[in-house]
Amino acid sequence: MIPSWILDIFAAIMLVVAAVSAGRLVAARSWQRGTGRAALADIDVAHLLMAIAMAGMLAASLQTLPNGAWSVIFAVMTAWFGYRVVRDSRVTGIRALAGGHCAPHLVHAGAMLYMFMAFMAPAAHGSGGMSGMGAGMSGMGTLQLPTLALLFALALVGYSIWDLDQLSGPGASGHYSLAAARVAPPGPVLAGVGATAAAAGPGAAGVSPAASATVATEPLAEPVARPAEIALVPPASGPANGTGLLAPWVATGCRIAMGITMAFMLVIMI
C-alpha cells in the first residue's frame, strides 16, 4: 500500500494549485475587468475544480462532492474544451493539439472524467459515494479499462514535459511566458523571448545582449505571432500577460503540477 503521507503531499500540492487558481480568478476580476481576461478564465476555473477534485481523491478527508457530481462537472468540462480545441483547430489545424493550450486541458478533463467513471473501489471500502474515491485510492482501488489509463498517463506525461520545456526557453508563446511576469507592454509581445535570453546568457540564440534586453521589454513594431498565438493569446494589455499571480507561467506551472499528479494517480490505480 502506498504510504498515506505520499498521497497527502500530492493532495497538498493540489490544494496549493487550487488556491493559486482561485487567487488568479479573484485577482483578474478585481483588477482587470473588461480587458479580455474572461477569454482565459475557463482555464483557471478548470484548474480550480480539478485540483479540488484531485485533492479529494488523494485524501478522503478533503472530499467535497459525490463522485457522480464530479463526473457531471468533468463531462461538461471535457465538452467545453473539446469545443475549444475544435474551434482552435479551424485556425491552426493540427497545431491546436500539439501547441495549443486547450488540448492539454481537454486531456486533463477527459482523464478526470475517466477516473471518476472507471473507478472501482476495493471491496473493503464499498463503492462510490462521498468516500469512495479517496478511500479507494489509499486502499488501492483500481480503474476499469487500464489501457485507457495508460494512454491518458502517457498523454499527461507528454504535455507536462512539453510545458516544462516551453516554460524554460525560447519558442514560447504567450501562455508560456516567464517574461510577461516582469513586463506588461501595451502592444502584442513576443512573450518568453526575454526569459530565455536571460537564462541562456548574453549572445544566446544569436541575440546580442542589447537585443536581448530589447526583446525582453519591448513590444514589437509588428507582431510576428503565429496563427495559434493570434488565436489564443489575449491582448497583451490584458492580465494574461500580467504580473505576479496573473502571469501566464503561473497557470502553466499549475498545469504541470496537475499533469504529473494526475499521471501518478492513473498509474497507481491501474
Binding site: M1, I6, I161, D165, P170, T196, V267
Partner: protein, 329 residues
Amino acid sequence: MSEIAAAGVRPGRSRLGAAAETARGAPDARRLLQLTLAGIWLLDGVLQYQAFMFSKGFSQMLAGTASGNPGIVASPINWNATLIEHHDVLLNSIFATIQVLLAIGIAWRPTVRVALAASIAWALGVWWFGEGLGMVLTGSASPVNGAPGAVIIYALLAVLLWPADHPGRPAPFTAARAVGAPVARALWLVLWLSLVYFALLPGNRAPQALNGMIAGMESGEPGWLAALDRGAASLVAHQGLAASIVLAIALVIIAAGVFLPPPAAKATLILAIVLAAVIWMFGEAFGAIMAGGATDVNSGPLLALLALTYWPVRAPGRAAPAYEGTTAS
C-alpha cells in the same frame, strides 16, 4: 514597463524580427529526443510510486536479479535488496522522486546537462543494483525480455543526446553530434551485436524458450493484450531455434545499418523501430505496466528512441543554435 517602452522608442523591425525568429525556432531533433527521454524518466518515476514498490515484493524482486550472477556482482545486489527491505518506504520514495527530478531536469533547459549527467550515474547504479547488469552474465538474457537491461540504454541515450557538438565534420545523425560519428556508430554496433549474441544463447534457442517467455507475460495483463500474447506464443511454439536465427539476422542487419548510405540506413532503422515495437508488445507486454509492478517501460521504447537518434539528417546537426539549454552553462 521598461524605460525604452515608456519613452515610446521603437526598435527597427529587422533587428527585432531576426532576433525573435531565431529565438522562437522550433525544437530541433536532439531536443525532441531529449524530451522523449525526459518523458520516459517521468513515467518511470511515477511507476516507482506504485504500491508494489513499497512492499517486500520490491526488495525480493531486486534480490532475484542476483541469481546466476558472479559473486562479485551478486553480493552488492543482495546488500542493496536487504537495505531496501528494511527501509522500503523511505528508500523507494527517494528512488521515485529522483527519477521524477531527472525528468524535470532534462525537460527544464537550464538544467539539462546536470540532469543528463545525473541520469547516467543513476542508470549505471540501477543497472547493477536493480537489474543485475541486465542478467548479461547469467546466460539468461534475451533481447525479447529486455537485454542488456533497459536502464543501460537510458545511460547510452544520455551520452548520445548530450547537448554539445563534437568538433569536426558535421554530424550525419543526431547521435553523432556529441561524441562524433565513429564513436556513435561503434556504440550502436556493440549494442546490437550484443543482442545478436544474446539471441543465440542456448537458453534462448531452445524449442520452447521464446514461447515460454511470451506466454509468461500474460499474467495480470488486460484481456486483449493477454490474447495477443497467447497468439504470439502459439506462433513460436517449438520454433525456438528458427525464431532465434531470424531474430539474429534482423539484429545483424540493424547493427550494420548505420554504416550504410542514408537510404539503406533509414530502411534498417525502420526495421529497428518495428522490431523494438514487436518486442515491446509481445515480449515485454508494454513493459508490463498494466499488470502493475513495472519499474520502467522496459527496453522496447528505448531501442526505438535510440534508432531515431541515428536517423540521417540532411543539414548539419550543429546548425541549430541555443535551443537545448546548452547556452545556460
